[in-house]
Symmetry: C2
Subunit: 344 residues, 2 copies
């Protein structure tokens, strides 16, 4: 107890430090905002005008966290990428229902309020918001001493997007014989880190600064690769009604995610020989002695987004994606049944 | 390492348990939904149709956590109230801008996936959503072993509400001479728990099952009292345009929150003798030797919501609130200046 009685600061909560960290980000956050953003920082709730000209507007919302990828950020002392992973993950989650993002809010809970760390984390969030044309509308930065270690934090985010009711991707357009096209992931994205960390740090005995086997990059850099957003290459295809379905390949892999966007009575046949998982996944599989099917159930194995496209549109879609700098690859097709069958 | 290689379950993540917990809540969650809710559980994002008939619709959104009130829930082994606190806190945060809730998403991060605890927490969230006519549209339940202790978790939430553009409460209606009316809080709400826990558990040496001094209830029960929602008593007054401003009294107390809803050039004079803080606050102040002004900066001191009302409408507002079972109390008035001046 401080002399003369307790104060909130004595108890470990520094309200002024939180204010200073937020103040330092005001300019960056302001750049994410647009004409629909009616509120400034500091109001109780963020205000966002529903855009005009959307026929039968439907809001699409998703909540997510970064998971234990954060532990890698703590080990590497690098805090500017996890916010990007979070925003892009959320953007992808609503994109697969046909929605473009409107706004985002973050929840950051820390033990001690280290202004530099908070600023780096939220700067990552704001950077990705800007890239996805998504307003960073608000958020909560909570100081919870006794809860998180001084140099640790948790980070979660919430996104709201919009789609015209007639253009919602809900599986109803998917047909027997449609083609499944894969777009590459940019590493582990935000899934499977609990297993990956066990293998890399505990079993392989690597440290964050060591070189990752078969890759000429550090363990930290490889494991912190930013979870990419698929909005830029896919939005033009959505606007032109070229997609029957989209599956964001997150926890559960292709078998856990592709069936979520297929209608009753349809499944997918996927040929795992149609693409080569990046070296990262092969190293994890071999070093961890992980069963092959388990690998495909936990990790994205190099496929971050799966597109379901009419067979007669597949070439046009691939051509347009290649023109946008993507590397699309046909990995299978839709057929009667349910779930995912490996055809290899 | 498990015999024959690693699996995700060996690494501490039980995807099936998370599914089972969510499955058990399907019925309760379904009850929170309405005709605008277009998606079921399990889709990537939740779908919510923008309601018709709202002139110039503006979305109001807020993110919040429960803070270290969760520590009290852990000590008491009682997990069904914190979700209610979270939802009601968020409802109040958008209510003060004139908005009614549309939907809510939660983020629950745990060490181990204890199905009973997860079910209790989310049941609390769903119960409060139902009470506030707010759809529980989605959420994320993250298993983060090595991150949270097995029997601990963090809980955050995100709300989206709607208001007509012309009816946004943004301070512009507040006038010199307006009256400030207080509505009672239901305990500490979700603020000041780091300090309160230090005083109660460390300094006073109480345990969660002990009787709280001056109150014939246990420490756990007193500290876990549900943060109440002010939507039911205040919504009819908002619909009838009787309120110039509303301030949700959270961290920072009256001086930290009331000025946030006042326009430039206006402040408030508050008479602390106009109400008696409940015994809970007096015990904390005395036992902790906390400075009186610090008490009013950290805790709500018995005032959970402050209404700013035209002087000639104050009696009508009080009468209507009393008819709704509330105990409104005039505690001050708006005057030229800035911030809050204590008039006692």
């Amino acid at each position: 107890m401080a002399e003369g009685g307790w104060s909130y600061r004595d108890a470990g909560v520094d309200l002024d430090a939180a204010e200073r960290a937020k103040e330092g980000l005001r300019g960056l956050v302001a750049r994410t905002r647009d004409a629909h953003t009616l509120s400034g920082l500091g109001s109780f709730g963020g205000l966002y005008a529903v855009p005009d000209g959307v026929e039968g507007p439907v809001l699409v919302s998703s909540a997510d966290g970064v998971g234990t990828k954060l532990k890698v950020a703590f080990l590497a002392g690098r805090h500017d990428t996890v916010g990007q992973c979070l925003v892009n993950h959320c953007v992808n989650d609503i994109l697969v229902q046909g929605a473009r993002p409107l706004f985002f809010l973050d929840y950051l809970a820390t033990g001690a309020m280290d202004e530099t760390v908070v600023t780096d984390v939220v700067a990552g969030v704001a950077t990705a918001c800007l890239e996805n044309r998504c307003a960073l509308l608000g958020g909560e930065t909570a100081q919870m001493p006794d809860f998180y270690a001084d140099d640790e934090y948790d980070l979660a985010g919430f996104i709201v997007g919009i789609v015209e009711r007639e253009r919602i991707l809900d599986g109803s357009r998917v047909r027997d014989g449609d083609v499944v096209i894969a777009l590459p992931s940019s590493g582990l994205h935000t899934n499977g880190y609990t297993l990956a960390r066990r293998i890399v740090f505990d079993h392989m005995g690597l440290r964050v600064d060591d070189e990752f086997p078969e890759l000429e990059r550090s363990v930290g850099d490889v494991l912190l690769d930013v979870h990419r957003s698929y909005l830029p290459p896919l939005w033009p295809l959505l606007e032109d009604d070229l997609l029957h379905g989209l599956a964001h390949i997150t926890g559960g892999g292709i078998p856990g995610n592709l069936p979520r966007v297929l209608p009753e009575g349809l499944g997918a046949s996927i040929d795992r020989t149609a693409w080569t998982p990046p070296a990262l996944f092969r190293v994890l599989e071999r070093a961890g002695g992980v069963d092959r099917d388990e690998m495909y159930r936990v990790f994205n194995m190099g496929v971050g987004m799966a597109l379901v496209v009419a067979a007669d549109k597949a070439d046009a879609v691939r051509t347009r994606l290649e023109a946008a700098g993507e590397e699309p690859r046909v990995i299978g097709s839709i057929m009667r049944g349910d779930g995912v069958a490996w055809s290899d």
